[in-house]
Amino acid sequence: MTFHPSDESAVRVRGLRRTYGHGPTAYEAVRGVDLDVPAGSITALLGTNGAGKTSTLEVLEGLARATAGEVRVLGLDPVADRDAVRQRTGVLLQRSGFSGDLTVRETLRQWSGTLVSPRPVDEMLERLSLTGRADVRMLALSGGETRRVDLACTLMGNPELVILDEPTTGLDPESRRDVWRLVSDLRDGGATVLITTHYLDEAESLADRLEIMHAGRIVRSGTPTEIALGHPSTISFATVDGLPRDLPVRQIRQEHGRTVIEADDLQRALSALLSWADAQGARLDDLNAHSASLESVFLAIADERDPAAAAAAASNAAANADPSDTSLLEGAAR
């Protein structure tokens, strides 16, 4: 990682709220988000389905207004200073479209003509490995190729800040790696990247900082290591009878025929468990032990076992008639 933390924030958000609809049917999707994206960093915004990630991004992109709160993008207001902000940012939406009748080169030429100072079309074709497909119509492209054209548009204005909403969803593993490399190169070239993703491995290996959203709030922030810090390690095995009650662990629970132990000190807990098993002659089938990982933190948040996530959900349940968001997490197990 070549990330050098900077005092400046490329994005600074305070108390952001976003409500859809009015009156009794109103739904508050973003419920007081504070977010700082350090200049020159790759920051990943993670969250369960409906956590409010895209709703937050839309405000940063200037596509929607905040119901309340303050948003500064590159020190400017994305709505009031629209022209200045747009010239310095590149946006990739979760889903977007192109005219199927235009070729790849025509699509990029069309986009290029809308920018104040675009990079040359041929350079973008080369950079996104699209040169060989330049004269193919958009409707004949694969999903991965269309995504690369989309990325070419995002980067054509040479943006200082790049906002990518799930850039690798639906891509094959090789294309995903290509996007990762591109994102790293952007950061190494001095740009700031704010990215949302379904893939925890992607966030873990790519991002300098993580912001985990749940139920419209940011419940965890920091580097991947900082986020896992203070979170318990996990030991699990096929359930056996007679487990002692005095193991040095935080919690023992049963899940789908397995015993799951959460421990602050993995080595101590594991030693105690194995000593007991040896003395009893008990066999711990399918034994698994691992330190706290981003995935385990994420799962705890999604299941609201994490205190911050549970607090966020509980306050929402009180504020809204809607049940709090307990939807399935997006591909965390992938």
Partner: protein, 264 residues
């Protein structure tokens, strides 16, 4: 909303217009409706007595309605809704392009086709023995106002149109509203009150302006050119107000109901 900001980049709008025109040219059905369709009614002048002003007025009125309804109204509606469905507009709106630039650039290719028809109507009418407009200023003003009004109607209709296919149905009320006036004028048994009410429809106002401004007809039933250049101005006041009012209503409704995301 950023559409409130009236400033647009002429260069960017012209650039997008060229691409929208290229896309229109690649769609044969849309191209037929935009270019060929509006010229067909002018052929009506070949029928009937050569140089008969009533026949000429009917042909030019029909040509104007078709030019407003097809290259402008229906074309703009279906292009906008189609691109909205394909998320093309959503993508464009993340960039430096402003909303108004997108709207104007989608409308201009069709507007150009309609204005071209208005220009071609002059030599074609002359070739069929018709006189040239008594008041060419009113004729030009009507052409520009009508294009603006039909564009605004298109963007308003888009607010409740779910897909490009659905536009075939959702466009019906406006097509009916616009065609009603000129068609009803041909029914002599209509009461005076109803005739008066119909004169406030956009199509009737367009027909009135063409009949007085081009052919010098004084009133709905007139068949002989009697108005001078100066007379045509006072005859034009009422119908011009009607068209400006409809345009203002349509723009206001379109601005308030603008939908940029696909309607599901």
């Amino acid at each position: 909303m950023s559409t409130v900001i009236p400033t647009i980049s002429v260069a960017r709008t012209a650039h997008l217009t060229r691409w929208n025109a290229a896309l229109l040219a690649r769609n044969r059905a849309a191209l037929f409706y935009a270019v060929v369709m509006p010229l067909l009614p002018l052929g009506l002048m070949a029928l009937g007595e050569r140089g008969n002003p009533t026949g000429g007025a009917n042909a030019v009125t029909t040509a104007f309605l078709v030019a407003g309804l097809f290259p402008v109204y229906y074309n703009v509606l279906s292009q906008f809704v189609g691109r909205r469905d394909e998320l093309v507009l959503k993508r464009m709106r993340t960039g430096q392009t402003k909303d108004l630039e997108l709207l104007v650039s989608i409308a201009l290719p069709g507007a150009f086709c309609a204005l071209l028809m208005c220009a071609l109507a002059l030599p074609i009418a002359a070739a069929f023995g018709q006189s040239l407009p008594v008041n060419p200023v009113i004729y030009a003003l009507l052409a520009v106002l009508a294009v603006t009004m039909f564009t605004a109607f298109a963007y308003w209709t888009a607010a409740w149109t779910r897909s490009a296919e659905a536009a075939q149905l959702t466009s019906m009320p406006i097509i009916f509203l616009v065609s009603l006036g000129p068609l009803a004028i041909t029914i002599p048994s209509l009461s005076e009150g109803l005739q008066n009410a119909l004169s406030f429809t956009p199509g009737a106002a367009m027909a009135d302006l063409l009949r007085s401004g081009w052919f010098g007809f004084d009133g709905a039933g007139a068949t002989d050119p009697s108005l001078t250049f100066a007379d045509t101005w006072s005859a034009a006041g009422g119908p011009l107000l009607v068209i400006v009012a409809w345009t203002a209503i349509a723009i206001s409704l379109a601005r308030r109901s603008m939908v940029w995301e696909p309607r599901s």
